[in-house]
Symmetry: D3
Subunit: 281 residues, 6 copies
């Protein structure tokens, strides 16, 4: 169960409104790697957790914190939209700055949400649950989380660069710092689980059952061998169980597929000379 | 530019048709972490790559290989659908196996694709480009790739468990082995980049500008301290630049937000006693 | 069955083209509460209606009228797009007004629809059937309809404020008036059904089967008691069957959930010390 | 800012697993009117609220409670999935109950989420932010909320009818009771705002500016006059400002639209005899 | 403007309910090539039409007819759902036919729409406006329409094969016949426009401006020359302006792309040895 | 299986960056008729092909070529984004041209993809697999392909008109020429299949089973008879098996639908006077 207190986790006060920037800030609220994504992702990973309670508890801690980040961003965006110049009076239309601002803002901020934040990204695309990752395998999921915090911090930094507003930057400096922590946190949790369960997910699959001839081969499917220069092309594999091998000219190992004609009730195209009789019904 | 050869990269021949399983196999073809996702993801990361050529080349190598995996899975699914029992003749309807098959299969395999594979997942949800990740920051993106291969191998293993068909298992044993390689490959590429650019993405942001007081604090937003037991709660941080700290009772640090009433032309709800005059136009 | 006459239900003639405004007007054509939404919603409610014929007939009357509204808006948008300045010749590029206009228009109006209306909203997001509501319970659905007409009139009014074009405003004054009628209409139909079936949907569920201890309790899950001031916090309940009660400090009433480990064939993360054996197959 | 306690708001313990029912229960978790929808909807309405603090506080109270409902449903679904029969061993395939279960369950519960809940609906469609309503006009939005609780209670009641499991029914009896309260709550808040701002949303638009001739006319666009029997067809309008009028044969009032040919650079189809010259560039 | 009459365009009466088939029939109601798609597509093409009035009129004729088809299918589906077996009482659960039906039906037909049709496809995916095509170029669009009627008739025929219900087959025999007409209709309209504007869309682009060396070359990007056997590989081109040519070994004609490093404020990965300085802000 | 060479199929080098145009160009990369659509469409048609090998081979040839087109467009877009002006420094904000450019660009190009192409359309909507068509009936699908190439060439031509950049135009002149070929190619393949299987898809359905009375009737559902002037209204039908007939006043041929009340466990609205008893459970 959850409780709310009225204070924000950290300040969210812009120096002045900026409707165009409000639109951009939507990305880290409702985008693929926005705060709604990590909120839902961590909460579902926690609720579905069948492993040790410390993982469940940790996931719900951070998931709960992310709700507060959603709150901060929504509050910031609403203030950036204060008195947004949505009226196209004749005079305003003469002012190219204002018209450009109107062109650049998310017009739904005026028409739909009445100068409020929306659970959408910076192009107005709605947040979708297909962004979330929760597989029941924590090592897999913590890698998803590390990625989410990496993409999220990268986007927050880019948004920091795009504004001079000290209030916005203050809030972003907090979110960026939390992303630093969260990258560190997932790195720590990953190192714990890799030590316990091995580096290849899932660690419980019997390795005899995979086609081990190709488990450590780099296949150079593209002409030229620049790709031979990387760590992935030679030396011991990262899981300590094999040697990387560079296949310069990978050959196909499978059949040339030829599909059987479909049954008549499907009415697909038959091979020539095999015209099917009319339907029997 | 690309070229095709008729042979598959590896065998894709089921022992016998199984329309219900065909539907399940769609997950690793057109799902969030299916082969279409990694194909598009690696190709776009390669095409957009502004870093060293070896990364671009490596990305296009593996992206090109993934097209072959899409091909194998599509071919397998089409064969699993051979002669799918879509006709509900009276007799068939009495046979619970056949009715169950008709219920459990993806009915679009019969109505829409005419017993062919679809670029959808196992619940019939179409593949969407919002699954792809390509940020221009390779360390971030390689973490996305490591996650994709972890989720992908996990799903392939689960699908392996769900069938006894030796032909399907043979193909999956190949894909699972390639996912072993690809997890190793991204781990290798990540270790190269972390050594060069640091562990926190993006490494180029001036750390003075983030709110460093909270860069290594674990905030226990959930009652109880099970979460204090993990590596993330104490000791040196994973990036080597701080010490983890456990905040047992995190307090809010921000304002209580109070938003200003909206301008009259938005026609939102005003605070009581502030009824706006009718519109001036 | 349906018939068409060539005249529009009401005038749809702008004074002059305005491609940026055309984009905004898309919201009430193809947005969440646009005319396509109410058209499909009322028609499906009518076609699925299992109650009195007067409701079915009324729903099909208004659903049929909404097709005419879709027609008016499409026609208006096409005219607003007449000669849209899509060519970026050098001279035009010098004119900030024109460039701003080009930035602000829906670029698909030029590239995709060839200066025609699209069944999308003002951010270019396509209309989706998940906007529609038709549950088979008319009281529930008429509340959905009342909401749709409330949101729809609000958006039409905002769009009225955003233009000075007398032709556009003339058309909007008609649509706004119809929304006045339609809000009144659903209020009337709701009052009929509430008198007959009660205020709580669905009225047919046996109230003994719900957890009646909490059927009239307001739970103050947020610190502070501002919420105690409303009508919802004290006095008789609106359905006349209980008394509102204000729970200042709501306590959890359920268990602390602990999930069982998953079966081995799922390959999820196991609790420590319970490492599963390799797969048996 | 938010805090979590480990206990659920109410019990969520099924008597026994039922993977097919788990899939159905997803509807009120991640469907159009599921708990995620009301959670996000109330929180965003609260965060964006520019009216009296009592409304903001009330919205955040109930939004916070809804997070607990999401938690209860997720926990219930995970338990319903315990040991789901995903393996298709030969023997199992002979058992029609097991095959039916495999056909009827959400196969992503096995392949993707590893026997955990997903933020999707009962057909596997992911939750999307386009379900949420937050317009800045509270009367409009409270009508949306009343609808959401009406649809939500209706669906919960239907799901109650679909199971005999006493644990599931116990949890649903709690959620149904809360929906009773929440319908009452929104009815109460609506009556407050209607008394203050009038029944037609938005109340601030100058009624002189709408086409008042049609503000209270019911238009019978469908042959037959069953629709004349309702409260909406005669008598005083519900807003007390007019009289309902029944237009038996509504006539078009607008022009026959004729669009001008498009400019040549659009390359649309020209009227016959107006073949455009080749492009000038 | 539009009018409705109560009679359906043609009979829609099943012999008996069949909830599983109801789900399948959704495909031609709300699927990619269902009746909603052609309804919206033809209406928008008509409303946006800037060419001769006969095309506009014809498009609105057929678009109006399609609304009646949507009505017939919705009515049929509602009747197929009469008394759908949604209750899982213990006895019922023992009956494999009933369980199969419960597994195979669209569970939202019970939980969400209350035994009514939905604007979704057979996998429960909602109709989306991205299915519609209306470009302003009628030759292009009539080809889209011909395709829609081809796919639509194919799906209707497959659904005809999947049932023995004489009422359903009677309705389908009507829809299939209309699709015969509509394929003929678009073929006729296409032949008119091809005669007038040429076979290559758009006919107004100056052919000097395209890279004419490759305007009639078939490029054999796949090893093997089976593709040389078709009409497309030799002989005069279909537009009468060139000769097909078969390029057995197509060579790349473009550059090897090398992208410039991104500006520092993007924080992408730099090439090695070009580590950027910390941000200046 | 597939192979890659580093050279592009044709040049993709803009004269200079243009971030606003980059956004527009996304339409033919990731839009409904962009290169990703045809790539996936042709490959799936090929992989699912159950007809003659020459069709499979041809489909894979052209599908493979389309991957190269995706590559060219992605490369072009990345270069158009070089040094995009995303920083809103005070000085820049004074320059209306720059602000307008910022308003008009896809802001995710800066925030999300780090100046790389995205698999989205020009309004930022992600590519979705529901764009693809692959039915197993090649005549139907080749009509889909002809439409795709018609819409695609039309959009490419419009984009050609929207720029003066010689590098962009050079690349587009190549793509436009290929679309000329591909329209010719599908016309050729269609003429082959129509000669073999007849003009009405599917040719294998027994024409006795369709309602032949309406197989060649044009129904004038819209008042006025402009539509009588077309080829579709009189003369022999295009399939050579009937005569077009013009029905000036089409009459309904079906029943007035009246649905039975739903079962009590659905809790829908009952007809008046038929109030159901409380639930029995």
């Amino acid at each position: 169960m959850f409780y709310h207190v009225k204070e924000l986790q950290y300040n969210a006060k812009p120096e002045k409104p900026d409707a165009v920037y409000a639109r951009k800030l939507q990305e880290i609220l409702g985008g693929q790697f926005g705060e709604i994504s990590v909120m839902i992702q961590y909460l579902f990973q926690g609720w579905n957790c069948r492993a040790d309670q410390k993982y469940r508890d940790m996931l719900l801690d951070i998931g709960t914190e992310e709700i507060a980040h959603v709150e901060m961003l929504s509050t910031m965006i609403a203030q950036l939209l204060d008195n947004a110049p949505v009226k196209e009076q004749e005079e305003a239309a003469q002012d190219p700055i204002i018209r450009a601002a109107m062109g650049g803002m998310n017009v739904q901020h005026a028409i739909v949400s009445g100068l409020g934040a929306k659970p959408d990204d910076s192009m107005g695309y709605p947040w979708t649950a297909r962004y979330t990752v929760a597989s029941g395998n924590l090592l897999a999921d913590f890698r998803a989380n590390l990625n989410a915090e990496s993409q999220g911090r990268l986007q927050a930094v880019r948004l920091y660069e795009m504004t001079e507003d000290r209030g916005v930057r203050d809030m972003l400096s907090f979110l960026i710092a939390r992303d630093t922590m969260h990258q560190n946190q997932w790195l720590a949790a990953i190192s714990e689980l890799e030590a316990r369960d091995g580096k290849v997910v899932p660690g419980t699959f019997n390795r005899q059952q995979e086609k081990q001839e190709v488990s450590y081969s780099f296949m150079n499917c593209s002409k030229g061998t620049d790709s031979a220069e990387g760590r992935w092309a030679k030396g011991p594999s990262m899981d300590g169980q094999g040697q990387f091998e560079y296949i310069e000219n990978p050959e196909p190992m499978g059949q040339i597929p030829i599909l059987a004609p479909g049954p008549i009730y499907i009415h697909g195209t038959m091979p020539s000379g095999q015209t099917p009789p009319p339907s029997q019904f």
